[in-house]
């Protein structure tokens, strides 16, 4: 589903990713971990196509040219902190944006689409906020709205960049429940997180990063929390 071959990426003269090789199979829940500045978010941005690698190949759905498959990809950015709280957009309008790529140009939203919004908001316990301005919701609720936007298009590849940062335990619980549901539907999930519990409980594959390189790729069984903390607090 996702394959990176010898991928490198630099910001001006700072190397952010160095010779990354990895493979994520269809239906896997892959977690990317590592200390701040280790290149996790850059790696996700390269997988998503936000950044073009300086070197190497990114294959999605087995192809180097991903343009035809983009509608099957959903992305949940680290948005809660950077999102402008004054942006005049309702919860319903935000979730509908997730359907824009599927609708294509020139087509409006149908009553079927609005029904889908209701269903997903119900699932995420957000239906009472449907007409509310997004910025008026709490951080956890906003993050759930972003997740609803990502899931409404029923993606085959779901990419999440630190979705649990700054959210309440209820939102976290709902998020993991939904991720497991998606996994059961054979959705491939790539998630950057610091949440040890999630790493140990849900991950099929753990990619451990440091200084722009992959230190190890292992399963949840082999993952050592002690070793992870060592990497974390070494500096």
């Amino acid at each position: 589903m996702v394959e990176l071959i010898d991928v490198s990426y630099s910001y001006e003269d700072k190397v952010a990713l160095k010779d990354i090789n990895l493979k994520i199979e269809k239906g896997e829940l892959c977690v990317i971990v590592g200390p701040n500045g280790s290149g996790k978010s850059t790696l996700v941005s390269v997988i998503c196509g936000i950044y073009k690698p300086d070197k190497g190949v990114v294959k999605l759905f087995g192809k180097e040219d991903h343009n035809h498959f983009r509608k099957k990809i959903s992305f949940v950015p680290q948005k809660v902190s950077s999102f402008n709280q004054l942006f005049p957009i309702s919860v319903k309008e935000t979730v509908l944006l997730g359907l824009v790529p599927q609708k294509g140009y020139f087509k409006g939203f149908s009553s079927q689409d609005l029904k889908k919004v209701d269903e997903i908001l119900q699932k995420l316990d957000l239906i009472e906020f449907k007409e509310k301005q997004l910025g008026k919701l709490s951080g956890g609720q906003q993050q759930r709205v972003f997740i609803a936007r990502a899931l409404i298009s029923e993606p085959e590849l779901l990419i999440l960049d630190e979705p649990t940062v700054g959210i309440d335990s209820k939102s976290e619980e709902i998020l993991y429940k939904l991720l497991l549901e998606q996994k059961a539907k054979n959705t491939t999930i790539v998630m950057v997180t610091h949440d040890i519990f999630a790493i140990k409980s849900y991950a099929d594959k753990i990619i451990c990063m440091k200084d722009g390189e992959i230190l190890t790729i292992c399963g949840a069984q082999e993952f050592s929390v002690k070793k992870y903390k060592q990497i974390y607090f070494e500096d």
Partner: protein, 263 residues
């Protein structure tokens, strides 16, 4: 007042512009790129100057030059990724420098003033036809790309990831701003057109909790200000650009005060 043909034309042109300007202006506010209005209005002034110098309809000149700089802007913006305001400054200064040179070669200053601050008596039949010819496709494009434009304003990265052609839409947005500026020159004038793009949205943002309301309220504010501004211009013999923008500022202040009281 409506028995005068020039007033009929002013009202028709004013109403068209007052609907289109905030519709497109709201996107540039949400993209935090409001300054583009100011920048391209300077390009429009250069277009007017070139039109007057070459003896062609200055509106044609304004439209052509503004579209050219709108396209150049997108290219420059990519060169200064993350520092978009540099590209705006470059285009503003380039337009002003060339305008200064071209204006110094033009003898009549009266017609120049009309394009800088707007005029209700200056709208010819040809201008009105041109405004309509540009307004219809502009409005169509805004409506066709409504949801995609909102997506790129709200979250450009996620839009890109899921296959929205962000580069193309940014270009379309720039061109739409250029077109709106081009056709609004006659009524509001080059110096004040960016206010018509931004101020109705600024007012509407204060009272809107969703995008649909933002669009609705900004059109209402814009329509009210333009119609009242044209009437004030007729009776008080002042430039319509000045009266329209003054009304917009007054509405903005009123909303701020009322919102403060509600709080």
């Amino acid at each position: 007042m409506l028995k005068y043909t020039f007033m009929q034309r002013a009202f028709i042109a004013g109403i068209i512009i007052s609907i289109i300007a905030p519709l497109i202006g709201n996107y540039i506010i949400l993209k935090r790129f409001s300054q583009i209005g100011d920048t391209l209005s300077h390009s429009a002034i250069l277009g007017v100057a070139l039109g007057l110098l070459l003896g062609i309809n200055p509106l044609f000149g304004a439209l052509a030059v503004t579209i050219f700089f709108a396209l150049a802007l997108e290219r420059l913006r990519r060169c200064f990724k993350g520092f978009a305001e540099i590209s705006l400054s470059i285009i503003t200064m380039t337009s002003l420098a060339f305008s200064a040179i071209v204006f110094s070669r033009i003898k009549s200053s009266a017609s120049v003033m009309n394009y800088l601050f707007g005029s209700i008596i200056a709208i010819s039949k040809m201008d009105l036809i041109l405004i309509l010819m540009v307004a219809i496709p502009t409005l169509t494009l805004i409506l066709l790309f409504r949801k995609e434009l909102l997506y790129i304003c709200f979250d450009e990265d996620s839009a890109l990831v899921s296959g929205i052609n962000v580069k193309f839409l940014n270009l379309i947005l720039n061109v739409l701003v250029a077109l709106v500026i081009g056709i609004s020159l006659r009524i509001v004038g080059g110096f004040l057109i960016s206010a018509l793009l931004v101020m109705p949205g600024a007012v509407a943002m204060k009272i809107s909790s969703n995008f649909s309301n933002l669009q609705r309220y900004s059109i209402l504010v814009s329509l009210f200000s333009v119609v009242l501004g044209i009437i004030a211009s007729f009776y008080l013999n002042i430039s319509p650009g000045g009266s329209i923008v003054s009304i917009l500022i007054f509405i903005y202040l009123m909303v701020e005060v009322l919102k403060g009281r509600v709080r």
